[in-house]
Point group: C2
Chain length 103, copies 2
């Protein structure tokens, strides 16, 4: 039950649904890209990414000073059905706006 509620709770927030859809659409992005695209402060983004990661939707790959987030693969059927449903909604997400000052 706890795992279920954790999974469900992660997508029970408009901001997280948007971020998840953004990553699912754009593929691997780093935190500063999300920060720059959504115009939200970094700590807020970071917190939401942690929740989505802990719930099994995202994975992180740290390379250098950046943390690259992407949709976790492989993914179980239930989480896939949630992703599919989110994809079918007509959610407005910002354009990818690269935010890292050096690379």
């Amino acid at each position: 039950m706890n795992i279920f509620l954790n999974t469900i709770g992660a997508v029970n927030d408009a901001t997280r649904v948007e971020i998840l859809h953004f990553i699912n659409t754009n593929g691997e992005v780093c935190v500063c890209d999300i920060e720059n695209s959504f115009l939200m402060i970094q700590s807020r983004i970071s917190r939401h990414l942690k929740i989505l990661k802990d719930a099994g939707f995202l994975k992180v790959d740290r390379r250098g000073r950046w943390a690259y987030y992407s949709v976790r693969t492989p993914m179980d059927e239930f989480r896939q059905s949630i992703l599919k449903e989110i994809g079918s909604l007509d959610i407005k997400i910002p354009l990818l706006n690269k935010g890292c000052k050096s690379e």
Copy 2:
């Protein structure tokens, strides 16, 4: 987005997941049966049933002074996948304990 969050929010609560699983297991039940099986006060049950109904998981059939709740049919693929996932969890639900004082 709002419909999605409403659907998700309805199953983002242990009590509601248990009630939903209970109805999915036992078929059509009336409110006093749930009240008597779960040993919860009536207003609490009623509130949760309303949320599950408004989220598209349950339907009501009023006959006489009773309100009979059951899983809504037909049900879209996404809600079905949620029900399926809940069914796969190992959720403890009480035995059906008929509670209506007359019938």
